[in-house]
Symmetry: C2
Subunit: 349 residues, 2 copies
C-alpha cells in the first residue's frame, strides 16, 4: 500500500524561453500527465521571459549602472540600502532586494524584471492549461526572496491562481479546546518553497508540479494580493541603525531635487513623534538638494534646543531612508530666522 | 513509469506527548517504513513537550501576564513592539514574535517554549532513529514564523541534523555562463515549509517525512546555526516609525532602572551618526528611570541646537526600541549646566 501524502515532480524537457513563446503549450507538451487538482509552480523568470519583461543592456555599456536604473524604475520606495544592495518596495507591493531583478539564467545582455502582474499571468496559464489538457490546476508563480533575519533564500509566491494564498485557521479549535487566534498559513509560499526542492537553481527546471493536496480554489480569486503587508501592518518600514553612519562624505553628495518631498514627510513624522519639543519650522529653497530651515520667530535657547531635537530626528530618519545629509549652520538661532541649511543627497549609486 | 520527484508523507498515529516521553521511539513505531536518505520533519512543539520546555500557568492566575513573563525570559532583545505584540530576538538567535512561545495544541494550563537547543534535539533524534531502525535520516525541527513584509505564516527550521542548512550556489555558473553570485538556498527552511503542506495546524500530525531528496549530510554538522543573521548583516535591527508615536501617556511610565544602559548606547549611536552636531553630554541620576542631562559648559544657542539634535536622535532611537520617554526641561540651556531630564519607561506590559 503506498504511503499517504503528496508528491512533487519536476517538469523536464522544457526549452529556453523567449518573448512571445507559448509557455502553457510548452508545459502541456512536457507534462501531459497533469491532472485535476495538481498545482503547477512556475519560476517567475520564465514568465517574465515569455512576457518580454526584459531590459536589454547594450554591449559595452555599464551593466551594473543599467541594473541600478532598472531597480529604480521598478521601485516605489527604498526600504533600506547598504552599498550596492537596495531593499525596495516594488510596484507589485513586494519588499525584496534589487526589486527582484535578476541577471542569472539569461543571456549576458539582459536583465529580467518581475512579471508586471504575476497573478494575471497565473490566471492565464491556468485557463490555457484547461483548454489544452482539459484539467483544472492551480498555478503558482514563484520567485526567490531573502528574509530579514535569516540567511539564505527561499522561494515564495509572487503570483497565483486557483489556490488560496492564505489558509485561515483563526477561530479553529485545537484538540485541547484552545482557539487558534492568529494562524494564517501562507499556502502559496509553502508551495513555492516545496517546489524549489526539485527545481534547483541552475536553470533547465523552471517548473514543478505538486500533486495530492486537497485544495479548493477560492470563490473570488485574489491571487497573491492577500500576502502583501504594507502600511499600518508594517513594523519595519525602514531599515534601522546599521544604515545610520554609513553616509558618504559630504563631497560625494548627489542631490536629487525631485525627491525632496521626503523632507516634508520626515518633518511631519518627527513632529508627531516628538510633541514635547514643540517648534514650528518653515523650510524652502529645495531646488538644489538644499533645504533652508527657518524659525518663524527669533529663537530662545529653549527654542533652539527644540528645533535641534526636530532636526536630529529628521536627520536620523533621512539616514534610515538612505539619504545622505550635511548640516550647515547659517546663523546662531537667536540671531536670525534662517537657522541653517540641510544638504541632501542620495548615496552615489 | 512513476514520475520523478520527491514525496512527503505524514506520520499518522502518534500519541499526545508529555515530558520524558521517547519521541524517537514513537516515530519509529509509527513510521517503520523510514529509509536511508529520508528527512524527518518534526514540529518543535512536540520536541519541547518531551523535553519539558513548558511553563505551567496556575489556574486562576493571569494567563496573558504569565505569557508576557515567559516571553521576557526567553528574550535577549526586543526588536519591535506594538501593543501586546513583541517581536524579539531569542536566546537561540531567532527573531520571532512572542519568542516563539505558543499556547495552542497544549492543555490550557501550559505555555510551550522553543526547544533550548533544537539542533541538539535533532541530532539526538537522528542518532536514536539510527539505533532503532538502522536508518540514516536527516532531521529538521520546524516552527511557524511570521515574515516582515508578507502576511501569513510559514514553517521554518529551528533545528536540524544531517541536512545542510544552506545549499551554496555561489560561484556556480548557469547555462548562459553567468556566475551566480548570491544564491544560497535555505534548504532546511524549504523542507520545513514543504512538510507543513501535509502536517496541518490543528494537531495530531506533528511529523512528516520528505523522501527522494539527494542530500549529503554535511561533514561538520552545524545544524541551523548558519541561518542566524544578526549583527552587521541585520539591516532591520529595530522596528521603525510605526512604533514611534505609540507612546503611553507619561503618567503610565513604568521605569526599569536596570535597563538604563540603553541610554548610554543610544547617545553613543546618536553621537556617531550626527558628527555635525558636536556636543559633549554628561548624564547621571539613573536610579529611578530618569536621566539628568547636563552640558559641561554654559551653552550658546548653537550648543543648544546641537544638544537638541542629539536628544531628538536619542529619543527616536529609544522609541524604536520600545521605550517610553518624557522630556522635562529643567532650565534654559544657556542658564544652567543641567538642561533637562529624560524620563524613561517601558510601555506597560
Amino acid at each position: 500500500m503506498p504511503l499517504a501524502g503528496i508528491s512533487i515532480h519536476p517538469v523536464a524537457g522544457l526549452p529556453e524561453f523567449a518573448p512571445g513563446d507559448d509557455l502553457a503549450a510548452a508545459i502541456a507538451g512536457a507534462a501531459p500527465w497533469l491532472a485535476d487538482g495538481d498545482v503547477v509552480v512556475v519560476t517567475s523568470k520564465v514568465v517574465s521571459k515569455v512576457e518580454g519583461r526584459l531590459v536589454h543592456v547594450e554591449p559595452g555599456t555599464d551593466r551594473e549602472a543599467a541594473r541600478q536604473r532598472a531597480i529604480d524604475a521598478e521601485t516605489v520606495r527604498v526600504v533600506a540600502r547598504r552599498g550596492p544592495l537596495k531593499i525596495v518596495e516594488t510596484r507589485q507591493g513586494w519588499v525584496v532586494a534589487a526589486a527582484g531583478i535578476d541577471a542569472s539564467n539569461v543571456p549576458g545582455d539582459a536583465l529580467v524584471l518581475l512579471p508586471a502582474d504575476a497573478d494575471a499571468s497565473a490566471r492565464g496559464l491556468r485557463a490555457r492549461l484547461r483548454e489544452l489538457l482539459g484539467v483544472t490546476v492551480g498555478v503558482v508563480v514563484s520567485d526567490t526572496f531573502g528574509r530579514t533575519w535569516r540567511e539564505g533564500l527561499t522561494d515564495v509566491a509572487v503570483g497565483s491562481a486557483g489556490v488560496p494564498a492564505l489558509i485561515d485557521h483563526r477561530g479553529d479549535v485545537d484538540v485541547h479546546g484552545n482557539r487558534l487566534e492568529t494562524t494564517q498559513v501562507a499556502l502559496v509560499d509553502e508551495l513555492a518553497a516545496a517546489a524549489d526542492l526539485v527545481k534547483g537553481k541552475l536553470g533547465g527546471l523552471p517548473v514543478a508540479v505538486v500533486r495530492g493536496l486537497t485544495v479548493t480554489a477560492p470563490a473570488e480569486d485574489t491571487g497573491t494580493r492577500p500576502l502583501v503587508r504594507l502600511g499600518p501592518g508594517d513594523l519595519f518600514r525602514y531599515g534601522s541603525r546599521d544604515l545610520v553612519g554609513s553616509r558618504a562624505p559630504a563631497a560625494d553628495l548627489v542631490p536629487r531635487p525631485g525627491e525632496l518631498d521626503a523632507v516634508a514627510e520626515a518633518f511631519r513624522v518627527a513632529g508627531a513623534a516628538l510633541p514635547e519639543f514643540p517648534v514650528v519650522v518653515r523650510y524652502g529653497g529645495e531646488d538644489d538638494g538644499v533645504v533652508d530651515i527657518h524659525l518663524p520667530e527669533r529663537a530662545t535657547t529653549t527654542t533652539a534646543l527644540n528645533l535641534g531635537a526636530l532636526i536630529g530626528a529628521v536627520v536620523v530618519q533621512l539616514h534610515a531612508e538612505g539619504w545622505t545629509t550635511r548640516w550647515e549652520p547659517v546663523g546662531t538661532p537667536g540671531g536670525t530666522s534662517l537657522v541653517g541649511r540641510l544638504w541632501l543627497g542620495s548615496p552615489p549609486d
